[in-house]
């Protein structure tokens, strides 16, 4: 069917507009990171669509050489929060993935677990803000406020529904006969899972892990409430970049946001070849 010309023009115009809208914040963050103070501040009343004087000062500023200096606009280095984020998110993602990958297989293949998938889904039915205050109180009693394990437990719990449900859909697509063939050959159920199902679910595991990683990496709310000085994560640290004198330090914020963008992007590129779903599902002919 050939579409009428104006319909096609309209369609592409809409796509372009949507693309512009969604890419503009990214563009603004990237350019702002390289703008000097005079260009990113709103004090001058001018808008700079692109940096006139490219500078790396913002990047230097977020990693001050002497920390704790009284007059420095940014008293703390962004390096510890980067490390915190990394430790917390990686450990939480590993836990959510290990549990999710195993639980989803049981649910998908053996129909075990009863209402477990639904209970897991319920975890996502209310906004985290609804429970974060009670959790904070509980964590305070358990002395888990501002600890890496306190954060890991919450992150792993919050993302477990995603890892389980996503993995379940991947397993559902792998024909049962593949693991049955291994069982008939004398492998145990677990060996069959390890040798046959897991390698075939690689793509699913990779994309699920990326998804969980991004969810945890970008969380602000939970980290803001549960962490303080010792284990502040990157989003929390970005929020801290403000002074009484100039208000929000947009330039350094943008620079740090750009740095924080690197791990998910690198991760994404590394597993890119697994991201195309259905790549490995050629085992059966329907």
């Amino acid at each position: 069917m050939v579409q009428k010309l104006y319909v096609r023009i309209l369609k592409y115009a809409l796509i372009v507009i949507l693309a512009l809208i969604s890419f503009f914040p990214v563009y603004w963050t990237i350019t702002m990171a390289f703008k000097p103070f005079a260009e990113w501040t709103s004090a001058t009343g001018k808008i700079f669509w692109a940096p006139n004087h490219l500078t790396l000062k913002n990047f230097k500023d977020v990693f001050p050489s002497t920390t704790g200096a009284f007059f420095s606009p940014i008293p703390e280095s962004a390096l510890p929060p980067l490390i915190h984020s990394f430790v917390i998110v990686v450990v939480a993602t590993i836990i959510a993935m290990v549990v999710g990958v195993l639980a989803a297989y049981g649910v998908s293949r053996y129909k075990k677990g009863g209402q477990l998938p639904f209970f897991l889904l319920q975890l996502r039915m209310f906004p985290p803000i609804a429970v974060i205050i009670p959790i904070m109180i509980m964590w305070a009693f358990l002395r888990m406020i501002d600890t890496w394990y306190g954060m890991v437990i919450i992150y792993a719990t919050v993302t477990l529904p995603f890892s389980t449900w996503l993995m379940k859909t991947f397993y559902d697509d792998i024909p049962r006969e593949l693991s049955e063939a291994a069982v008939v050959d004398g492998y145990t159920d677990f060996e069959a899972f390890k040798k046959v199902v897991l390698p075939l679910a690689k793509g699913g595991i990779a994309s699920t892990a990326l998804f969980v990683f991004i969810l945890n990496w970008s969380d602000f709310l939970i980290a803001y409430i549960i962490t303080d000085k010792d284990w502040a994560t990157i989003p929390v640290h970005i929020n801290k970049l403000q002074t009484a004198l100039v208000g929000q330090l947009y330039g350094p914020k943008a620079a740090l946001a750009l740095i924080a963008l690197i791990p998910p992007v690198v991760f994404g590129i590394l597993i890119q070849k697994y991201l195309v779903r259905g790549l490995t599902f050629g085992a059966i002919k329907k």
């Binding site: 063939a181 008939v184 050959d185 004398g186 002919k285 329907k286």
Partner: protein
């Protein structure tokens, strides 16, 4: 090698009965076919023999030893799945050696077995290929090789040829028969294709709605079907059925203005000793139903009008309907070169020896006269 006995096997899925009290005996080295339409319980039977599924009740014996509680891997069965279940993340070699890897056998021995089996199936050149790159035909052979390599006592093949195109199917059919004769395993072969079942199997178990209909040699299943279902399922084109009743030496058939078929005196006595019910279904295969231009002396008023015909090279299938009922279709298989005119009135001719007489209520075969 192995003798299989199934005793009153029952399997239900929820409210649906997949297999209903099935008893079956498969002799050592026998090749049997489970034949039936889709969803009649064939694959469920295979899964129970292999141990992948536990029967709700009933027993399975291999060589007289109950194996109900033996796990699939210890039963010594090779299973080839309908969708082949080839591991696409492995090479062909890894796929084929998969079943031996678990047995802690010497590398060199594994290698020797793989070479042997791939030589038998003529897929040696594919060994280093990624299984995901295989054509469907090669995939089928790899699946076969993988289930063969452990030298199972029992070979379970679930619709192995259904994914192949028609030309290759007949080649692989011959190939399978050769391999089975060479290896001599007890083989259970699931199919919904009567030609495969007829040409490969020593015995055919015809299934319908979870129930075993008949278990016999291909010759007997075709020539002495136990009931209407079996008669209808085997044979291409399908058998003709005429609804009617029997009274005092003659059949009156519906659909004809005056359809009568008169039995000979000898057969009349033979039939009446077994017939308790006068409502019958008369079955006659198309190859035994001939068309004549002039009145025959075998019956009265068995006239039919030609609707269409298909010249198939070696024979001509003629479709007709009886003179009083345009909704009934009669099929007749005539010699090649036969050329009727559409709309022609023909006289049907068949002999008593080719008649199947079924009880209309129980659908069971009452009588087939033999010479």
């Amino acid at each position: 090698m192995a003798h299989i006995r199934l005793e009153n096997l029952v399997k239900r899925f929820g409210k649906q009965t997949a297999v209903d009290s099935l008893s079956l005996e498969i002799k050592d080295k026998e090749f049997i076919a489970l034949l039936g339409p889709s969803g009649c319980g064939k694959t469920t039977i295979m899964n129970m023999i292999s141990g992948l599924l536990q029967p709700d009740s009933g027993k399975i014996y291999f060589d007289g030893i109950e194996v109900n509680d033996v796990p699939p891997g210890k039963r010594g069965v090779g299973f080839m799945f309908q969708n082949y279940a080839v591991f696409t993340h492995m090479t062909v070699y890894e796929n084929i050696s998969f079943g031996l890897e678990v047995q802690k056998i010497d590398r060199a021995d594994i290698d020797r077995h793989v070479r042997e089996v791939t030589k038998l199936l003529q897929i040696k050149h594919l060994l280093s290929m990624k299984a995901s790159k295989l054509s469907i035909n090669d995939m089928q052979k790899v699946a076969l090789a993988r289930s063969m390599i452990t030298q199972p006592r029992i070979f379970l093949l679930d619709e192995p040829l259904s994914n192949l195109d028609a030309a290759l199917r007949s080649i692989m059919r011959a190939e399978l028969k050769r391999i089975q004769q060479e290896l001599g395993q007890t083989t259970v072969y699931v199919t919904h294709d009567q030609v495969e079942a007829m040409s490969l199997a020593n015995r055919i178990a015809v299934m319908n709605y979870a129930v075993l209909q008949q278990y016999d040699t291909p010759h007997n299943v075709y020539n002495f079907p136990k009931n209407l279902f079996v008669a209808n399922f085997l044979g291409s084109p399908t058998i003709n059925f005429f609804d009617g009743y029997y009274r005092n030496g003659e059949f009156r058939l519906k659909g004809f203005n005056k359809g009568r078929f008169i039995l000979s005196r000898k057969n009349k006595a033979a039939l009446e000793s077994e017939l308790t019910h006068e409502k019958i279904m008369l079955g006659i295969r198309p190859e035994h139903l001939k068309l004549k231009d002039t009145k025959t002396d075998m019956g009265e008023g068995l006239n039919a009008k030609v609707i269409s015909y298909e010249p198939l090279g070696s024979k001509v299938i003629v479709y007709l309907h009886p003179d009083a009922e345009p909704n009934i279709i009669i099929k007749s298989s005539m010699e090649k070169g036969y050329k009727p005119r559409v709309g022609d009135l023909k006289y049907l001719e068949f002999t008593e020896n080719h008649l199947y007489i079924f009880n209309k209520e129980t659908t069971n075969l009452v009588k087939r006269f033999t010479l």
